[in-house]
């Protein structure tokens, strides 16, 4: 069974943050509160990245998601003030949505917990390597010609296009 050490306790705390925050996002009426729950959930995910020895990804998670996307959502909520406190927050098919999400969860858990993928599946008690690639190696991989430099450039282009598109769409016509 799982031994109870510092890592496991941290895992459980972060998992509670993630799932509790996510439940808050989908059930809260006030959208500002929902955004704060979203921040809690994203922060828990950053904690997971630290536990999985990906500190750069944790930093990016805090900077990009919590620092930029969450703020953007707060702005959107405040610019659409009359919509923050709707009487009905769910549409008519919310029961069917809940059933669909529940079925999807059961399906995913079958894939995760039962040994349907054979001996190499997620259940396999594989040796976890102590050697982990560093952030410097990630940086090298992102700009090395025989690894990810082309996707990296395409991603930059996508960001530029999205930024220009967002400005054009949200601009006043006058």
């Amino acid at each position: 069974m799982i031994e109870l050490n510092v890592q496991t306790i941290a895992f459980l705390i972060f998992a509670a943050c993630i799932l509790g925050g996510a439940l808050g996002v989908v059930t809260t009426r006030n959208l500002i509160h929902a955004t704060l729950y979203l921040v809690l959930s994203l922060f828990g995910a950053a904690g997971f990245f630290v536990l999985l020895s990906a500190p750069f990804m944790a930093a990016v998670q805090v900077l990009v998601y919590i620092g930029a996307i969450a703020i953007l959502i707060v702005f959107a909520v405040m610019l659409t003030r009359s919509m923050t406190r709707l009487r009905d927050i769910y549409n008519r098919q919310w029961v069917m949505s809940a059933i669909a999400a529940g079925l999807l969860f059961v399906l995913l858990m079958v894939g995760v917990i039962l040994p349907v993928w054979g001996v190499g599946g997620a259940q396999a008690g594989r040796e976890v390597s102590e050697v982990v690639a560093s952030t410097a190696e990630l940086g090298t991989a992102l700009v090395s010609p025989n690894q990810f430099v082309l996707p990296f450039e395409v991603a930059s282009l996508l960001l530029t296009a999205a930024m220009i598109g967002a400005i054009v769409i949200a601009r006043d016509d006058e």
Binding site: Q7, T8, F11, A15, I18, L19, A22, V25, V26, L42, A45, F48, F49, L51, L52, S53, A54, M57, V60, Q61, V64, Y65, I69, L72, I73, F75, A76, L79, T80, M83, L86, I89, Y90, N91, W94, A98, A100, A101, G102, L104, L108, M109, V112, I113, R126, S129, V132, L138, L142, F148, P151, A155, L158, L159, A162, M163, G165, A166, I169, A170
Partner: protein, 102 residues
């Protein structure tokens, strides 16, 4: 270390909660938040598999970086569309925006 399946279980739960939010909320901003939750579940999965299966291959972290980029682009364009719709129709309720519905 915590076994791999526990990370996958948390990510699966997060993904399904996000999917429920996308399918059931009426406010478009809340729908977008559900999408963010689902993208985060994907990121957790990618990093968990990277750490447990091939921690020396940078593909896992590189993919996560691209998911971050796409999420940022999606949030920017999505919120711009929502604000534009609100300006034109005084509503961000998903059911009110049915111009393309046949």
């Amino acid at each position: 270390m915590v076994p791999l399946w526990m990370y996958l279980a948390v990510a699966a739960g997060l993904f399904c909660i996000g999917a429920y939010g996308v399918l059931s909320r009426r406010n478009a901003v809340a729908v977008l938040m559900g999408v963010e939750l689902m993208l985060n579940a994907v990121n957790i999965n990618l990093i968990a598999f990277w750490r447990y299966v091939s921690p020396l291959n940078m593909a896992g972290q590189a993919f996560t970086a691209f998911v971050f980029v796409v999420a940022a682009a999606e949030a920017a364009v999505g919120l711009a569309i929502i604000i534009s719709v609100y300006r034109n129709r005084r509503s961000v309720i998903v059911e009110d925006v049915d111009l393309l519905k046949w």
